[in-house]
Amino acid sequence: SQQGEEDPQALSIQEGENATMNCSYKTSINNLQWYRQNSGRGLVHLILIRSNEREKHSGRLRVTLDTSKKSSSLLITASRAADTASYFCATEETGANSKLTFGKGITLSVRP
């Protein structure tokens, strides 16, 4: 079963614009992670936010977590053509022993 539901399913923006992607989940979690997948490749870890954290930054990435609403958002600032990829949120449920449950993903296209 898939716990995380990303929104929107697809996003197309111009280079230099910001991209915001949202994820909602259903159960209590230890942490929430965002991964990127380029076409035909494996997943690459981007950022992790723990259940007791509200916001984290990593380079051009900003992630927020609202455990009361069971939702997270990923912001990519000043997007580049190289950011074109699929983005997945993944949740580690409480007591899940590091098992991750992934959403269906968001397809981001950044136009040069």
Binding site: Q2, G4, N31, G42, S98, K99, F102, K104, G105
Partner: protein
């Protein structure tokens, strides 16, 4: 540091045939995961190993899928016999005691 290695990268078989995939995790990573990613969806965990023991195989279709990690290092995933709906990318990931999972490039399986 070498990444997670998988082979083959691509495989095409007829339905009812058998197929095996191989994964070599990052050196020292005790936990190894096999995921199935159907086109347009997020990865779904099939099985999780801690060293050579199974932690979670609740979503592994055990009537046709099997996996082993005999020496606690590399692992094989087998499908016997394959069905059309097994067409997917099979991803291997590993980690130590951190939350981040490191993914291999995947094996794209096409069942005709």
């Amino acid at each position: 540091e070498a990444g997670v290695a998988q082979s083959p990268r691509y495989k095409i078989i007829e339905k009812r045939q058998s197929v095996a995939f191989w994964c070599n995790p990052i050196s020292g990573h005790a936990t190894l995961y096999w995921y199935q990613q159907i086109l347009g969806q997020g990865p779904k965990l099939l099985i999780q190993f801690q060293n050579n023991g199974v932690v979670d195989d609740s979503q592994l279709p055990k009537d046709r899928f099997s996996a082993e990690r005999l020496k606690g290092v590399d692992s094989t995933l087998k499908i016997q016999p394959a069905k059309l709906e097994d067409s997917a990318v099979y991803l291997c990931a590993s980690n130590v005691h951190t939350d981040t999972q490191y993914f291999g490039p995947g094996t794209r399986l096409t069942v005709l």
